[in-house]
Every structure is written in structure tokens, then in C-alpha cells.
Symmetry: C2
Subunit: 348 residues, 2 copies
DNA sequence: CCTTTACTTTCAAACGTTCTAAACAGGTCT
DNA sequence: AGACCTGTTTAGAACGTTTGAAAGTAAAGG
């Protein structure tokens, strides 16, 4: 490796014959500076390729311009597009984004606390189905945080402690199932992930049950299948394997509702491998509205969440709260039922 | 927000009645410390929830324990699994990982330089099809860097300036095309992304041509289709749109080779929408071996790159070079031809 | 009782910024 | 000429850590 001179702010100051603070002023677009001096300094900076040391900056600044994004269940392609949007918004505001994955066996609060303190971050976005047990835990986080597309938070937690942005999973899920029932399906299997606590999976399962009840129909518990491999819940692999199991179980059904598109895509493959035609023999529906749902054949009927919009609003809200010009909010978006080729009326 | 006491190392020192450096010693597992003192300090740290400030640490330390991963073309799902592995390896070594996406219009070296200087990183992994023009540019990077699954680097650049790990795209691509020819196909269309310079797309196109030449067959330039939307080259959307265009062109072909699985999946949908059966009417082949290729129907014949292995070795190599116990290397992995349902012998 | 040795611990100087308060020019007004 | 602006610049104290050199302790050796 070649030796390369790495200039600091001091070097630049010396080079320009000015004080360090003047250079700092120039860099940070402070008002009180002579435009001429500023131009000269910027010139020198370009020439020597000076880049301010982020650590030194963050050390001194009270507000390290950075937020954390904590994601549980990275396997779900659903998050990728959200993260991209969040990143964009951060760039606009000149904020750095610390992306951290939470493993299934890790405690969310502990991880959040650690990363926030380490990097002196100003806020947190929680992405995905986290589940919080107590208010005490949440209070340990000393910065504003926002849940996005998370599961339900227990009722006993004070609403103005956090923000929550997403769709009403239970209601939208019910809509989907109601749509299937409307097509004449009565034997509707559901492919759901873990369902302990108020996880996303549980909410969507609740919606499934709601839809049946609303129509005064019986729920057959043997048509509820859990896909939980202990790791990434919403994966294609998981959907595929569980659907195989469903088929082996011998239960009869004319429609299958997978509570996530990734699961549905795996299910689609398993069904077709087994010789079922979609939708002629079995209707298949997903949930999320990921890109890929449009590219499989038959294209997947799904409940599209406005991911980009949610991600964008989440980020803006967090910045607003950090800046002190907004308060915690609870926003519910509408999902959109996208009817594609994978569902049709039941054939008698 | 509640006021929370954020202890510093000084506070811990005072609390324990010892000097700051002793606390520092305890945290960093230095040898010269009384086990008893250490235990007491660790106890206090746990009690007060002290977490060292990363900025202060990195500021003082010569070696900020962190590397950068620069990705061009995030839309390609191919990278997701690689990033996951790199992250794992970093965690093992207690290194932080700075993930940065490079936009299509950004200069890779400029971005790399900026991020490395800002964060004082120790090394760089370049993921994906970057293209380097000159040795001078590369020399500007003052830390070791490793290319992974990148395009070919021009011959005139000194080999011991960098490492390069991946498969021989040209050779493996030729293998795939040769396999298609072996099935009796002669009119093989290729769906390729941008092809200026020695990009990955160009290499795979070269392989396509090699395969024809090796058999003494003619190449029909009108069967070469470029999918370049100026943004994410290897996306399903891009594959879909370009295949529509191919079909409109009216050129005849019995097989389509998409140089990336994401493109192939988009192509698959476009072909089926247009009423073509795969593989009865048209054989379809991809390249990369992403997970999803197994879940579409028909499952996709593809050239599987050992992504996990490549990512793991890339990271290990970079750490080795940083530690000074390894030198730059150029490693070529074998890809694996996975024959699935989407290809079959041409029907006469 | 004074050295030596080995083990612990502390002091204080960095690291590269930002930011407050103070200083400095060069007017303009009494 | 002094007082008072106004616009620009600077010195220097933080920020929270690591680290090498120095200092302190206690046990062992003479």
C-alpha cells in the first residue's frame, strides 16, 4: 500500500493560513464567513481531497446525525423496498442510517439500546413484527422510536410513548378472506407463521377468523397450518415445506391463504408440483404485495400494502419527532386488494 | 422523553473508585489487570448500562474495526444472500460493516474514498459489476479492497493491487449456451443488460459468442437483446419489459438465455403472458442460481454461483489482508449447471 | 533496611472535530 | 478622538475514549 497524506482540518487551516474554526465554518455552511475565504478553503479541500472525520464530528456534536433501522426477519423481501426508501429519505436529510438485523434469539430492546448508545443515534425505526411485553422495556430506550408494519402493541402500553405506522393487518386480512368466501370458497386453508403473542401472523389469523364469524360460518381448526421453522418465518422455503405438509395431511380445501407473499410463492410451487392447477383446482392468495407476486405464473392475488408510502411517512415522522416539531402518532394505511390470476370462483 | 443518565467511562471510574484507564483495560480485555478489580468494574458497567461511545473509540483508535461493503445494483436479489454472509463473518471478528449502495450515476471510487475517510474504515468489499478504468483511480483508495463477483478488470491494472473472487463469467456463460446448443437449439436469443466495457453483462455475452464459435456456428446479432433501463439492470421488471420487446420484434428463437435469474423470471412471465409454453415452445435459462429460481413454475434452469462460499472467502481474505497475514489473491470458483424444468431438447 | 522484580494502577496526552466567547479590523456616529 | 457597531476570524475548551510512560504497591532477595 502506498503512503497517502490524509489531511485533517488543521492541515487545511494551515494550508489556507486561517484558523481551524474558519474551516469548520466553511464546511458546515455557517453564515458568518466571508464568501471569498470560504471559496479559497473549499478549493484547498477539493485539491487535497479532505473529508471530515465522522467519528470526531459525532463525538463533539450533541446530535450525531444518524438513526437506526432494526429489522427482524430479513429473509422477507417485503422489507427490501422499505429499507431502500428509508435510505433515500435519510440521504435527503443528510442523516446516516445504521441498518441492523435482529436475530430470532436476540432481545430487541437490548440490541436497540446497545446500538443507540454506541453510535449515539437520534432515533429508531423498527421494521417488522416485533413484539413488546412491557412499558418498562420500552422506556429504557432513550430516543424516539417508530414502529412500522409491526404487530399489535399490547393495549396497556401508553400510546404517546411511540409511533406506529402500518396497515390494520387484522382488518385487511379479513377482507382478503371475505373476498375468497365471496368467491364461493368455504374450505379455506390458512398458512400462517408463528402465532404466539400479538405477532403479525396472529393478527392475520385473527382476521381470517373474523371473516368467517362475520358470515356466521364455522371455522375448521384443522385448516389452520403453522409454518414455523424457528428462523425466517416469511420465506419461500418455509411456505414450500409447510404446503407439502398441508397436502400430506389430506385435509380438503379449495382455497389457500398464505399470510405473506413469500410464503404464498413457496406454496404455489408446492401445489403445482403436486399436480394441482391454480386457480382451477385451488385458489391461492397472498398478503403484502411484493414485486415478485406479479412475476410468478399464475400471478398472485394479494393484499398490497403501500410499502413505499409507509416507509416514507415513517421516516419523516421520526425526523419530525427528533426535531421536536411533531408528536408521536398512530397512522393506519389502507391496503389494496389486488385480484390477479391465482384466485377464482369455486367450481361446483 | 424521560431523562436518562448516560454514564461515560469517567462516571464508571469514579463509581468504582479507580482510574479511567483501568476501566478501559477492563472493557478491552487487557492482560495487566487484577481480576478482582475487573469483576467489580464489569459489575458496575452492567448495573448502570454503560456502553462505550463508538465515535470516541474510533477517533482514538488507529484501526476503526470496520469495513465497507459497496454494492452497485441493489435490485438484484443475488446480493442479498451475499451481504448476509459478509455480515455474519464481520460479527464473528467483531468488525462493524458499513453497507453502502452506489447509484448508477455515481463514481465508485469517489464514493469509496469518501466513505472510507469519513468512517476511517480498514477495507472495502466491492460487490457486483463495477468497472474500473485506470490504475490511478484504484491507487487513490488507501485501504485494501476486494472485488467479489465483479466484472473483468482491465489487463493493464497491476494484479497485486487488489483481490478478485468470483466465477469466470465468460466461461460459465459459454457452458450454459453450449448446453442449450447441445439440446438442439440453434436460434438462441440472449437477454443481456448493459454491455459497455467489461461489465458482467458483457462477459456473459462474450461467453455466449464463444459457445457458438466453438461449435463453428453463426451468431445472429439480431438475437442479442439489451435490457438497459438506466437503473437497476438485473431486475425482474427489466427482464419482463425487454422480453415483451423481444417478442414484438418478431425474431424467431427456440431458447432464451437471460444473463441473470432476475431477468429470467421477468422473461418467464412475459413469455407465458404471450401464450408461449416453457419449455415446450421456448426453453428459458438464467444465470446466478438465486433462491427464487426454484419457486417459479417451471423451475428455472440456471448456472448456480456458490454465493455463500464466495462471500465467506471474500470476507476472510479481506480480513487476512488487513491483518497483514495474507496477500492479494485472484480466486476463481466453479459455477454449477442446474438443469430444471425450463429447458428441454428442441422439438422438430 | 534497602533493592529489585512483578504486578497494578494512574496521569495526561493524544485523536479531529465543533462551538462559545472573545478578539480583531474597519467603519460610522457623536 | 472615543464609543459603538458590524462583519469576520480565532483561540481554546470540550466531546469520550485509548495508550504509553510513569508511579505506586507488595513481596522477595540481598
Amino acid at each position: 500500500m502506498v503512503f497517502v497524506f490524509e489531511p485533517t482540518i488543521k492541515d487545511i487551516a494551515k494550508l489556507c493560513g486561517v484558523g481551524v474554526s474558519t474551516v469548520s465554518r466553511a464546511i458546515n455552511n455557517h453564515p458568518d464567513i466571508n464568501p471569498e475565504t470560504k471559496e479559497k478553503i473549499m478549493e484547498t479541500i477539493r485539491e487535497y481531497g479532505y473529508v471530515p472525520n465522522d467519528s470526531a464530528r459525532n463525538l463533539k456534536r450533541v446530535d450525531a446525525k444518524a438513526i437506526a433501522v432494526l429489522v427482524k426477519g430479513i429473509a422477507n423481501p417485503f422489507f427490501t423496498s422499505m429499507i431502500k426508501v428509508i435510505e433515500e429519505e435519510c440521504k435527503k436529510k443528510n442523516y446516516a442510517m445504521e441498518l441492523t438485523h435482529i436475530e430470532a434469539d436476540e432481545d430487541e430492546v437490548d440490541v436497540a439500546q446497545k446500538v443507540v448508545k454506541e453510535k449515539r443515534l437520534r432515533g429508531i425505526i423498527f421494521l417488522g413484527g416485533l413484539f413488546w411485553h412491557s412499558e418498562d422495556k420500552l422506556k429504557k430506550l432513550n430516543v424516539p422510536f417508530v414502529f412500522s408494519t409491526a404487530g399489535a402493541i399490547p393495549e396497556n402500553i401508553s400510546k404517546n410513548l411511540y409511533s406506529n405506522i402500518g396497515v390494520d393487518d387484522r382488518r385487511e386480512s379479513a377482507k382478503m378472506v371475505d373476498y375468497l368466501i365471496g368467491l364461493g370458497h368455504t374450505k379455506i386453508a390458512i398458512l400462517v407463521s408463528e402465532a404466539e403473542g400479538k405477532s403479525i401472523g396472529q393478527l392475520r389469523l385473527d382476521g381470517y377468523c373474523d371473516a368467517f364469524r362475520a358470515r356466521g360460518m364455522e371455522i375448521n381448526p384443522r385448516l389452520i397450518f403453522h409454518a414455523y421453522d424457528g428462523l425466517s418465518h416469511f420465506s419461500m422455503e418455509n411456505g414450500y415445506r409447510t404446503t407439502k405438509r398441508i397436502l400430506e395431511s389430506g385435509e380438503e380445501f379449495t382455497a389457500l391463504f398464505a399470510v405473506a407473499d413469500a410464503l404464498a410463492i413457496g406454496a404455489s410451487r408446492a401445489l403445482m408440483e403436486a399436480g394441482y392447477r391454480i386457480p382451477e383446482d385451488i385458489s391461492l392468495a397472498g398478503y403484502d404485495g411484493i414485486d415478485m407476486a406479479n412475476y410468478i405464473t399464475p400471478s398472485l392475488t394479494t393484499m398490497r400494502q403501500p410499502t413505499e408510502e409507509i416507509a416514507r411517512e415513517t421516516t419523516k415522522l421520526l425526523f419530525g419527532i427528533i426535531a421536536g416539531r411533531m408528536k408521536h402518532q398512530h397512522i393506519t394505511y389502507q391496503a389494496q386488494l389486488l385480484v390477479k390470476e391465482s384466485t377464482r370462483a369455486v367450481s361446483h
